[in-house]
């Protein structure tokens, strides 16, 4: 039986990680490769790197990061942020990432999902979804709308409809981020996660809102998520990956406990 995955998310700007202050053991918290190694050794099941660089030279810097990470850790990792073309995907995958995550680019140009899946296989195409709860309407029957550009722009696209469409186009996994819950540390958006996860046949990674291990437990059980993305809760040293896993294990959630 599959284990539920715990996936730390690292934001990278200009080749440096931007969060993580209370690290011990001489870990350079700005160095993505060292951060990756730290989480790998802590028992992370997978990592997500999100490139938030705004400049044009971003690609080359990020490719170096990806290559360094791939040489250092032996678990899967994905790269998102600024992936707009098959060429972007190819360079990130060739540098050693398992998966690429596309978000706004897939909404603007859905064929990037099918083209990517055809070229590299569905297993490496992750659909990133930023979602906001809205009034149910004819246009947004699920009451969840896709947003882009960090939640500032509403797209008029129903989140549930988009998830199902993206699966059909070839997305192999969904990373589902609730803009409402993101940064609150008050828990994941359970209704949204359960709705999407129960409606598609591909794995769903829940993102946004983790403030305690209880929140992670809830989203993996009530929220029916296949994996939980964690950021601040682990970056600031409040709990470790091992704490999360031993707690989940004691509550009969199957997690990988030997690493």
């Amino acid at each position: 039986m599959l284990s539920k995955r715990i996936i730390p998310c690292l934001d990278v700007r200009n080749g440096r990680t931007t969060k993580g202050i209370r690290f011990k053991n001489n870990v350079d918290i700005g160095d993505p490769v060292q951060m990756a190694k730290y989480y790998y050794e802590q028992g992370a099941d997978e990592l997500v790197f999100y490139d938030i660089t705004a400049s044009n030279e971003r690609r080359d810097i990020m490719i170096d990061v990806v290559r360094g990470v791939a040489e250092t850790i032996f678990i899967p990792f994905s790269v998102g942020g600024g992936i707009r073309s098959l060429e972007n995907m190819r360079s990130v995958l060739l540098a050693g990432a398992e998966k690429v995550s596309v978000n706004s680019a897939a909404i603007r140009n859905p064929s990037i999902l099918s083209d990517g899946a055809k070229a590299f296989g569905s297993q490496c195409i992750v659909l990133g979804m930023d979602v906001k709860a809205v009034q149910r309407s004819e246009r947004i029957p699920s009451g969840y709308e896709m947003v882009i550009d960090g939640g500032r722009v509403f797209t008029g696209l129903d989140a549930l409809r988009w998830a199902i469409e993206a699966e059909g186009l070839g997305a192999g996994e969904i990373c589902l981020n609730s803009i409402d819950a993101d940064g609150t540390q008050k828990g994941y958006e359970l209704d949204l996660t359960a709705l999407i996860s129960g409606s598609v046949n591909i794995p769903v990674i829940a993102s946004g809102g983790a403030g305690s291990i209880d929140h992670i437990y809830d989203v993996l059980t009530k929220g029916r998520a296949d994996a939980a993305l964690v950021a601040s809760i682990v970056h600031y040293g409040r709990v470790s990956i091992a704490d999360i896993k031993s707690d989940l294990h004691s509550r009969h959630v199957k997690v990988r406990n030997k690493w």
């Binding site: 284990s3 032996f74 678990i75 297993q123 046949n201 591909i202 994996a227």
Partner: protein
């Protein structure tokens, strides 16, 4: 990684299918990973592809609409960490225990014609063969290179293996396709 049809075509275009056949017959240790654990069989249901035929059998697609004992929908591809039920001793699996988990990503699984080639199984809605062995060939459906220390140890074992099948194997028969 990839699809069986394309993989076989690429191997043929490069002449690597003949190289592999020769090396397999010559006794060189060979490790198949992921798609490499499927195309060593006679054929694959994926694109109905005739394959290398090192081990008799077929690569099959996971059935649709599987559900777990907890009535949870089983998602395909089988993506993530899963454990092994080891049923035949092999040097490449040395020190691998039921606690070890490995990273899988696949929609098809190898189904050899006889259980004697199954060294370990895993479970995802159905029980399926996850490690196969035949003389100097070992094939794993998961990715040892992405399976942390458990995977690195398996790769280390493979590098130290002389390609000889152990003189006797402690076996028990796998229960394949039985729902748990």
């Amino acid at each position: 990684m990839g699809a069986a049809g394309k993989a076989l075509k690429d191997l043929k275009d490069l002449g690597l299918d003949e190289v592999l056949k020769k090396q397999f017959a010559g006794g060189k240790p060979i490790l198949g990973i992921c798609l490499g654990a499927q195309i060593i069989l006679d054929r694959s249901e994926e694109n109905e592809t005739p394959c290398l035929g090192f081990i008799p059998g077929v690569a099959k697609r996971f059935p649709q609409d599987l559900s777990s004992s907890k009535e949870e929908k089983i998602k395909i591809p089988h993506m993530g960490w899963n454990s092994l039920d080891i049923i035949g001793f092999h040097p490449v699996l040395r020190d691998t225990t039921p606690d070890d988990e490995f990273y899988f990503v696949h929609s098809f699984y190898p189904s050899p014609a006889t259980y004697s080639h199954v060294l370990a199984t895993s479970h995802h809605g159905i029980r399926f063969p996850a490690v196969l062995g035949s003389s100097n060939l070992v094939a794993v459906q998961f990715h040892p290179e992405k399976s942390g220390r458990s995977g690195l140890r398996l790769l280390d074992n493979f590098c130290k293996w002389d390609g000889c099948q152990p003189p006797f194997m402690i076996r028990r028969s796998p229960i394949c396709s039985a729902k748990e």
